[in-house]
């Protein structure tokens, strides 16, 4: 871009570095100082790594059953042993990681889109719109979430996509409520008034001025809830709803192991899937905590 000619012969100072990138770098710096948050990031990175490379790194086909070698204890051939159906447990758990990442991130993204859209609408419009959305949110919040998800999955049929949709449909109200509060607090901010004064349209004000400032706590909540979605999927499978029965999913593995809980020598059946679920939830929780601390703490004053 050509610099404009200096007026009166004064040189134009070089453009300042982008403030936005500066702020991101600052957040990243604060985040990196938090050890627990880095551990969480490591766990999440490992999960994503397993999820993406699943077909390449699973030692066996996670679907292949071998009914002559069921519930074998961990051995050099099968590091985590084999499950109730004789599948290699390590491969099954890696495949489960793929499902967890897919469903966790998918559901959280959908819930975020729906929740932020409705929450921002309610907070910005106020009045009747707000009232209606608030009542709908109340109904969804009072409704037992797991039951709602089960019904939706049953209506759509078993599969990964129905599970994602179901979890997002029961998960959006919390996000909506959070986003509404944020937008409501910012609606009267001076810079919003300034934007309105120069004639910015409502969508522009919401998208360009309010949401960028309101989104941080919502994003942190999204990370906190991702572990919850993974657990919800496992719970669905544990109850026999969700992904098809032959898919090696963590909750399903635990469910199949539940007849052998007190049988000595079969503990690997439930320990490894349980560990996988715990690691996932803890990983996402640590990331969320770290993000919350790394983002401007002042953002947390209003709620």
């Amino acid at each position: 871009m050509a610099h404009p000619l200096p007026v009166g012969g004064f040189p134009v100072p070089p453009p300042l570095p982008s403030r936005r990138r500066g702020q991101l770098a600052e957040i990243a710096r604060r985040y990196r100082r938090n050890k627990l948050a880095m551990v969480g990031l490591g766990v999440v990175a490992l999960l994503v790594f397993l999820a993406v490379l699943e077909p390449l790194i699973t030692p066996y086909d996670p679907f292949e059953q071998n009914l002559r070698n069921t519930m074998a204890p961990p051995s050099p051939a099968h590091w985590f042993g084999t499950d109730v159906l004789g599948r290699d447990l390590l491969s099954a758990i890696i495949y489960g990681a793929r499902l967890a990442v897919l469903v966790g991130l998918g559901a959280v993204t959908m819930a975020l889109l729906v929740g932020v859209a409705l929450g921002a609408l309610a907070g910005f419009r106020g009045g009747v719109t707000d009232g209606i959305i608030a009542r709908v949110t109340d109904v969804f919040l009072a409704f037992p979430a797991l039951v709602g998800a089960i019904l939706i999955v049953r209506a759509f049929g078993a599969g990964v996509l129905p599970v994602i949709v179901a979890l997002a449909l029961v998960g959006w109200p919390t996000t909506a409520r959070l986003a509404r509060g944020q937008v409501l607090a910012l609606r009267e901010a001076e810079y919003v008034e300034a934007a309105r004064a120069i004639g910015a349209s409502d969508p522009r004000i919401v998208l360009r001025h309010i949401l960028p400032n309101a989104i941080a706590p919502v994003l942190v909540y999204a990370f906190t809830s991702t572990g919850g979605y993974v657990v919800a999927m496992a719970s669905l499978s544990y109850l026999g709803v969700g992904v098809p029965p032959d898919v090696p999913e963590w909750g399903r593995l635990i469910e199949q192991a539940s007849d052998f809980l007190r049988v000595p020598g079969k503990a690997h059946l439930w320990i490894f899937p349980s560990l996988a679920i715990c690691l996932t939830t803890l990983g996402f929780a640590f990331v969320a905590d770290g993000l919350r601390d790394a983002l401007d703490p002042r953002l947390w004053d209003r709620s």
């Binding site: 009542r135 709908v136 109340d138 109904v139 969804f140 009072a142 409704f143 037992p144 797991l146 039951v147 709602g148 089960i150 019904l151 939706i152 049953r154 209506a155 572990g227 657990v231 496992a234 719970s235 544990y238 109850l239 026999g240 709803v241 909750g251 635990i254 539940s258 809980l261 007190r262 503990a267 439930w270 349980s274 679920i277 715990c278 939830t281 803890l282 929780a285 905590d289």
Partner: protein, 331 residues
């Protein structure tokens, strides 16, 4: 101790505001609660309706079409949806929740059998919650940044990350069938005292909740300990026990009370996962069996019940909160 005005100044609590405002606040909350219950019943009806005809297939059995017709007429599912919904709403007021598809038992009887168990489980859970949560929270707040504080905080972080499913499986695998804990709940085969079968599910449910309560208690206690009235109490020369026990703890309980109330509402609605793991004969286990067998009348009844429990408890909490903190109902 001086009576009258001094007390009124020290406690500008509920009595300082005219009762009219509390009245409108109450009315508004109750109307909102009723709306939520109606909305939720409508939602569950739409959801179960979208599952399709419950008599088209019943498991592995092949049912002749004539029998299907008779069944549909018998259970009223051949009626249009709005009519079914209105009939159901009308029947609720006479405590008639229909007859279940499987055993043809009145659903009210099934609820009457399981609800007390669930309420018992919920109360024991909350008791454990408060005992552990408040104590650990107080210790962590009083000894801030000490070894115990860090210890408690780390345990809480881990506990919050542990899903109920995993905790339940862990306890079931290691403890049930050992000592006083039954391997099989009494409701089905052997008779065991209620307290021995309630402990494990209650602990499962309590662990995560207790961790949240510790966090709440620690945070609000630290805030209260820095407040002026605690300094004043100390300056007056009160003993440390009195300052903590009478002033600090009481004033930091408010968030805990709120959280416990809401949590109780959720627990009354039945803990599906936990009750299923331990095969505890409560609403949650009934629900999980109803889901597997597509037993719609039971499903609807339990959902209505748990929404009702949730709404009633959270309304009560709001009212309690408004009573304790006048700023809420004035806004």
């Amino acid at each position: 101790m001086p009576a009258g005005p001094v007390v009124a100044i020290r406690r500008p609590g509920p009595r300082a505001v005219p009762g009219v405002r509390m009245g409108t606040f109450l009315l508004r909350r109750i109307v909102q609660g009723v709306l939520v219950v109606f909305g939720a019943t409508l939602l569950i009806f739409l959801a179960t309706f979208s599952l399709g005809d419950p008599f088209a297939t019943t498991g592995a059995r092949v049912v002749p079409t004539e029998v299907q017709e008779i069944n549909r007429a018998k259970f009223g599912v051949d009626q249009p949806l709005p009519r079914q919904y209105l009939t159901y709403l009308g029947n609720i007021f006479t405590f008639d929740l229909g007859v279940d598809f499987d055993q043809r038992r009145p659903v009210v009887d099934m609820l009457a059998e399981t609800v007390p168990n669930t309420i018992r489980l919920a109360l024991v859970t909350i008791l454990i919650d408060i005992l552990i949560g408040v104590t650990a929270g107080i210790i962590a707040a009083l000894r801030k940044y000490s070894f115990w504080d860090v210890f408690v905080t780390v345990i809480c972080t881990l506990a919050i990350g542990m899903p109920t499913l995993v905790i339940g499986i862990l306890l079931a695998a290691n403890l049930s069938g050992i000592g006083p804990f039954p391997a099989v709940p009494h409701s089905f085969t052997v008779e065991v005292p209620w307290y021995s079968e309630v402990v494990l599910p209650a602990c499962t449910l309590a662990i995560v909740d207790a961790a949240f309560i510790v966090r709440l208690m620690r945070g609000s206690m630290i805030e209260v300990l820095h407040s002026d009235y605690i300094r004043a109490a100390r300056a007056k020369g009160l003993s440390e026990l009195r300052v903590i026990g009478k002033h600090a703890v009481r004033n930091s309980m408010l968030p805990v009370v709120t959280y416990t109330g809401v949590s109780l509402g959720v627990l009354f609605g039945g803990a599906i996962i936990t009750e299923t793991i331990f095969q505890y004969n409560g609403v949650g286990y009934l629900l999980s069996r109803a889901i597997v067998s597509s037993n719609t009348p039971v499903l609807i009844a339990i959902v209505v019940f748990s929404v009702l429990a949730c709404v009633v408890l959270s309304t009560l909490v709001d009212i309690l909160y408004a009573y304790l903190d006048p700023r809420i109902r004035l806004s």
